[in-house]
């Protein structure tokens, strides 16, 4: 790849920023310029050599803006929902007709800077250049009546661009929000979307987030998701983002107060040269918190799946209940799954467990199903669906579950 040119006067073009912010942005840009794209020598990127992936896929890259307009948007009709529409990461429109308007605040994300230096070069790049994501805030004591779909559109003119966005979601005390982040990619060319997302859950709040995309995509996605969970709050991530050329979801979750819960579950079906990583860091910083991670990957042809999951338990975080499991089903000799579970525990009265396994489709199970007249292909599909099923089961709403199942099935049948 030719050299990526980023001019620091690009930062000047971001309007109305404070001196402090400008300083922070320039500092981050310098950090990024010093390190460049992360490569496998950096521990957090050891299974996803991003520099190498970028070098072999892009001849040039720039950070110029892509369009923030779109002609036609087809909304899902599978179930009633609120929506936020993002075009290349920019907030385009929103609709909360099902809800009490004064309970929801949505705006272009402007001042969402966490003045901390992150060692992830892509986060530095985002800190330097991000503008125009969204900020969503749910007021106290309000449970949204309908699910919110965040339509994440990418347009044709994103070729060779790096799009940096920052988003923020805050769910206030006793409130509840369910989101489906639905990526729709109209761009056939390659581009990078680099997102920083900040999530704050106040006391007794609930936030459920489903990641899925509409179609296969040439996009290269990286998202750093930072969340803070207060007393009794509940944060659930369900990841079904198969079909992406590259996707790294880096989730950091701080359980800062008692009885908070974090769930991260993923069911992926990867094929061809798709590469997906889920990296998690769960910080148990208060007693009596729960975390549950289950990562299931089905990998065919030359796809690659990565799971790096770390659980940190602070000395005061007694009665922590932390569970972590990753399972991979490899359908092809050339498919690869890497898993690195880590536990760092400083409290003495905790329940922490982790497990990781990978293997082929069980031949005896296949034989059993085939004795009932199923072809080898159908029997395999049934076993694959079964393998991924316990993550899908986590979705309580029948219509949403049906929607996800259909998408997943399309992935599996296309195999």
């Amino acid at each position: 790849m030719q050299h990526l040119e980023i001019n620091s006067n690009q930062i000047d073009k971001i309007k109305e920023i404070s001196k402090e912010e400008k300083k922070f942005r320039i500092k981050n840009l310098e950090l990024f310029k010093a390190s460049g794209f992360p490569n496998k020598r950096i521990e957090d990127w050891k299974f996803s050599d991003f520099k190498n992936i970028i070098d072999s896929n892009f001849e040039k890259l720039d950070t110029k803006k892509a369009s923030s307009d779109i002609n036609k948007i087809e909304l899902l009709e599978d179930f009633e929902h609120n929506n936020i529409i993002l075009v290349n990461g920019n907030l385009y429109s929103s609709n909360f007709d099902y809800e009490e308007k004064n309970k929801i605040k949505i705006s272009v994300c402007d001042t969402n800077i966490d003045y901390k230096i992150n060692k992830n070069p892509l986060v530095c790049l985002n800190n330097a250049l991000a503008e125009n994501g969204y900020s969503l805030e749910i007021a106290k004591n309000y449970k949204l009546k309908k699910v919110l779909i965040i339509y994440n559109f990418f347009t044709e003119d994103t070729k060779n661009k790096i799009l940096n966005n920052k988003n923020k979601i805050k769910v206030s005390e006793n409130s509840e929000l369910h989101v489906i982040e639905f990526t729709i990619n109209k761009s056939r060319s390659k581009f990078i979307n680099n997102v920083y997302e900040n999530i704050v859950l106040e006391k007794n709040s609930k936030f459920k987030n489903i990641f899925i995309q509409n179609e296969k995509s040439n996009g290269f996605f990286h998202k750093f998701l930072k969340s803070k969970l207060s007393t009794n709050s509940d944060f659930t991530n369900l990841i079904f983002s198969s079909g992406l050329r590259f996707n790294k979801l880096d989730i950091e979750c701080d359980l800062i107060e008692e009885n908070s819960t974090c769930n991260i579950l993923s069911a992926l079906f990867l094929k061809k040269n798709e590469h997906q990583e889920i990296k998690t860091l769960i910080n148990h910083l208060a007693p009596n918190c729960k975390s549950n991670q289950k990562v299931k990957n089905v990998l065919s042809s030359e796809s690659k799946g990565v799971y790096q999951g770390k659980i940190y338990v602070k000395d005061i975080a007694q009665k922590t209940d932390a569970y972590q499991l990753s399972k991979a089903l490899l359908l092809d000799d050339n498919a690869e799954f890497n898993s690195k579970p880590e536990l760092e525990i400083y409290a003495d009265d905790v329940k922490c467990s982790h497990g990781s396994s990978s293997g082929n489709i069980d031949q005896d199970s296949l034989y059993y199903l085939m004795t009932r007249g199923l072809s080898q292909t159908d029997a395999s599909k049934l076993l694959i669906k079964g393998f991924l099923n316990d993550v899908v089961e986590f979705i309580k709403s029948p219509s949403i579950r049906k929607f996800i199942e259909t998408k997943l099935e399309k992935q599996i049948n296309g195999h």
């Binding site: 034989y367 059993y368 085939m370 004795t371 007249g373 199923l374 072809s375 669906k385 099923n389």
Partner: protein
């Protein structure tokens, strides 16, 4: 229906079936008894088409050589194996699986596929006939089923799929007397002049409820004795050793 002549089967270069000859006519129920390691389950596997066996000799089903017919095609021709150890298939709903299975068999016979409603009606009918709680079928296939439930599920599958030729591989082992009666009922109510059965068992107990037309003793990969129902009773008294 089934003609086996001088059937030999080996796995990992170990010869298990050493020239087995057996003929089962339509409507007949044959029982095969034999000590552990005599090749009973291998026979069941070879008949169903399980991969991994080196097979020689004659193996004809309704006049057609089965040797090159793959597992699922044998199922479509009407061969059904009730497993000794039915597998647990996590995440696969029993009803969905059975519907897929039944419809693929129906399709191959040129029959109309059943929709969900028709299928559920059929399931209800068959399970109440056997006295099986149909709730079992909304669970994941065999997952967390007791030994008895698994075997009952096999018999229910047999009732729904209506095979021409059923192999019961030690379906009776590990069952209590009530479950045994359900299994027997399932088999007896399916018997007809164009359906045949091969019942593999260790004990005569099952044969108190299912009356075989013939009893064969399998030992060291061969049938060493054939008789009527009373052969089983004799074996129960004397054991297999006396026969050798």
């Amino acid at each position: 229906m089934l003609e086996i002549k001088n059937l030999k089967a080996s796995i990992n270069n170990k010869l298990i079936l050493k020239g087995l000859t057996l003929s089962i006519k339509p409507g007949e129920l044959h029982a095969i008894m034999g000590p552990n390691g005599s090749g009973k389950s291998t026979l069941a596997n070879v008949l169903s088409g399980k991969k991994g066996y080196e097979v020689s000799g004659e193996l004809n089903f309704k006049g057609e050589n089965l040797k090159k017919v793959p597992v699922e095609e044998r199922a479509k021709k009407g061969i059904f194996l009730a497993f000794q150890y039915p597998l647990e298939i996590p995440g696969v709903n029993t009803n969905n699986f059975l519907k897929t299975s039944l419809n693929s068999l129906r399709k191959s016979k040129g029959e109309k596929e059943l929709d969900s409603l028709e299928f559920l009606r059929l399931v209800k009918e068959k399970s109440s006939e056997l006295g099986i709680d149909e709730k079992m079928l909304s669970r994941q296939l065999n997952v967390g089923f007791s030994g008895g439930e698994k075997k009952k599920n096999e018999i229910l599958q047999m009732k729904i799929l209506e095979p021409k030729f059923t192999i019961l591989d030690e379906t009776d082992s590990g069952l209590d007397i009530d479950a045994l009666k359900i299994i027997a009922k399932g088999v007896n109510s399916s018997r007809s002049k164009n359906k045949s059965f091969l019942v593999i068992t260790h004990y005569q107990r099952l044969l108190d409820y299912i009356k075989p037309d013939f009893v064969h003793v399998l030992s060291d990969g061969k049938i060493i004795k054939t008789g009527c129902g009373d052969l089983a009773e004799e074996l129960e008294k004397t054991g297999y050793k006396k026969l050798n």
